[in-house]
C-alpha cells in the first residue's frame, strides 16, 4: 500500500515538474514575442486601412482614432468599429468594419471607407468563407471586382442601382455566383446610408482608448 502510494506521489511529482517546465517555456516565449505580435497585428490593421483610404489625404494615426457603434443595420452580432481619418484635425474619411450576414457560406467581413463628402474611398473584404473560384472573386487578391465601388456614392448610382445586374442594378455578379456579390453590394449600400445618417456624430465623438 505505502509502496503504491509512493509511486503515485512520484508520478505526480514528475508530472508537476513537467507542467512547471512547460508553463515556464510558454511564459518565456510569450514574453519574447508579445511586443512583436502586437506590432504585427497593428501593421496588419494599418495596411488594411491604407487600402481603403485615399493615399496621403490624412495625417492622423487612423488606427488609434477609433470609436465603436452598435448598429444592427451594419452588424447584428458585434459593435461596428469606425476609424476616422483626418487632416489638420478636419474629417477626411471614415472606415467602418461592416459584416454582410447573407453571404453564400456565412458572414462576410468588410472594411468600408467613406469620404466625408459621402463618396466611397475603398471597400475590401477582410474575411469570408465563400466558394473558392466562384464567390471568392470579391477578394481583391483574386479579382479587381471590389475596386469598382471606389468613388461611388448614394447618388451614383441611384438607390435602384445598388444591386447586382441580375437584380436590375449597376454591379456585375460573377458567373455562377450571385449571392456573394449581392450580399456585398447590399452591405456597402447600407454602410453608405448609415454614414449619411450618422456622419456628424461619427466624426465628432471622442476617440475610445485602447491600443489595437
Amino acid at each position: 500500500m505505502s509502496k503504491n502510494l509512493g509511486q503515485v506521489l512520484r508520478s505526480g511529482q514528475v508530472l508537476g515538474l513537467f507542467a512547471i517546465a512547460a508553463a515556464g517555456m510558454l511564459a518565456g516565449t510569450h514574453a519574447l514575442t508579445a511586443d512583436r505580435i502586437l506590432q504585427s497585428e497593428r501593421q496588419r490593421l494599418l495596411r488594411q486601412l491604407q487600402e481603403v483610404l485615399p493615399r496621403g489625404a490624412y495625417d492622423n494615426d487612423v488606427a488609434a482614432d477609433r470609436i465603436e457603434f452598435t448598429s444592427a443595420q451594419l452588424d447584428a452580432t458585434q459593435p461596428v468599429t469606425v476609424y476616422r481619418a483626418r487632416r489638420g484635425g478636419q474629417p477626411v474619411a471614415a472606415v467602418m468594419t461592416v459584416t454582410a450576414p447573407d453571404g453564400y457560406s456565412g458572414a462576410i467581413q468588410m472594411l468600408v471607407g467613406v469620404g466625408h463628402d459621402g463618396h466611397l474611398t475603398g471597400v475590401r473584404v477582410t474575411g469570408h468563407k465563400e466558394t473558392p473560384g466562384l464567390g471568392d472573386k470579391i477578394d481583391s487578391q483574386r479579382t479587381d471586382w471590389i475596386l469598382r465601388f471606389d468613388g461611388k456614392s448614394l447618388a451614383d448610382p441611384a438607390a435602384s442601382g445598388w444591386a447586382v445586374k441580375k437584380d436590375g442594378g449597376a454591379f456585375d455578379q460573377f458567373a455562377g455566383a450571385t449571392i456573394t456579390p449581392r450580399a456585398v453590394v447590399k452591405a456597402v449600400h447600407r454602410s453608405l446610408q448609415y454614414f449619411e445618417q450618422n456622419r456628424e456624430t461619427m466624426f465628432s465623438s471622442a476617440a475610445e482608448g485602447g491600443d489595437s
Partner: protein, 226 residues
C-alpha cells in the same frame, strides 16, 4: 533491400516513402486535406509540423530516463501542446499573414496523430540523434505530400504554382509565381474539399502502383530459388 542499410538510411526511406505519414500511415489527414489548396499553404503547415515533430521527438527521447511508463502519455501531450503553442506564437510574431491564413490548423497540430505517434512508437525507445532524425524525416515526408498535393490542386484550380510566395519570402516576391496555364478557367473541384480527398487518393494509388511495379521487377530479376 540490403541488410546492411544504416539506421539513418532506413529512417530516410521510412519517412519519405515506405512509412510516409501522409501516404502510408495516413496520420494527420485533417490538416493535410484542409491546407493543401496551394503550394505555399501546404509548405508552411508542413514546415510548422516538421519543426514540432523534430522538437517533440528530441525532448521525448531526452526525457526517457525520468518518464515513468504510466504517465508517459500525459507528459507527451503536455510537451507537444507547449511546443505547438511556442511555434504558434513565433509564427504570429514573424509570419503574421501566414498565421492568419493557416488559422485553426496551426494550433491543432497538437492533435496531429503523427506527432504523438512518433513520440510513442519511436522517440520513446531510441537515443537522441536517431529520434531527432526520425522527426526530421517524418516531417519532411509529411511536407512533401502537402507540397505535392498543394501543387496539384493549385495547378488544377488556378493554373498557377507558388501563388502567395510573398507571404513567406517578403513583399518583394509579391506576384511572383509560375503561371503554367494562362487564361485558365480553373477546375473548381480541385480547390474544394472533395478535390483534396480525390487528390490524396490518387497520390496513394500512385505510390502503391510504383511499389507494385518495383516489386514485380525485383521478383523478375531475382534468380529463381533452387
Amino acid at each position: 533491400m540490403s541488410a546492411e542499410i544504416s539506421p539513418y538510411g532506413k529512417l530516410v526511406r521510412d519517412g519519405l516513402w515506405t512509412n510516409n505519414p501522409g501516404l502510408v500511415q495516413l496520420l494527420g489527414l485533417c490538416p493535410l486535406l484542409a491546407t493543401s489548396n496551394n503550394v505555399v499553404n501546404g509548405f508552411t503547415l508542413g514546415m510548422a509540423t516538421l519543426l514540432v515533430l523534430l522538437m517533440s521527438n528530441t525532448i521525448v527521447s531526452l526525457i526517457r530516463p525520468v518518464v515513468r511508463q504510466e504517465i508517459r502519455i500525459p507528459i507527451y501531450v503536455m510537451v507537444i501542446a507547449a511546443l505547438v503553442t511556442v511555434v504558434e506564437l513565433i509564427m504570429n510574431a514573424y509570419f503574421n499573414a501566414l498565421y492568419n491564413i493557416l488559422g485553426i490548423f496551426l494550433p491543432i497540430i497538437t492533435t496531429n496523430c503523427i506527432i504523438i505517434g512518433r513520440a510513442e512508437a519511436y522517440a520513446s525507445k531510441n537515443p537522441l540523434r536517431l529520434a531527432a532524425f526520425d522527426g526530421l524525416m517524418m516531417g519532411l515526408g509529411f511536407t512533401l505530400v502537402l507540397v505535392v498535393l498543394g501543387g496539384v490542386r493549385e495547378l488544377l484550380a488556378q493554373g498557377t504554382l507558388g501563388d502567395g510566395l510573398n507571404l513567406i519570402l517578403g513583399e518583394s516576391f509579391k506576384g511572383v509565381h509560375l503561371t503554367l496555364i494562362p487564361e485558365y478557367q480553373g477546375l473548381l473541384l480541385a480547390a474544394l474539399p472533395p478535390g483534396a480527398f480525390i487528390g490524396l487518393g490518387l497520390l496513394i494509388a500512385g505510390k502503391n502502383w510504383i511499389d507494385a511495379r518495383y516489386k514485380a521487377r525485383a521478383v523478375a530479376l531475382a534468380p529463381a530459388p533452387a
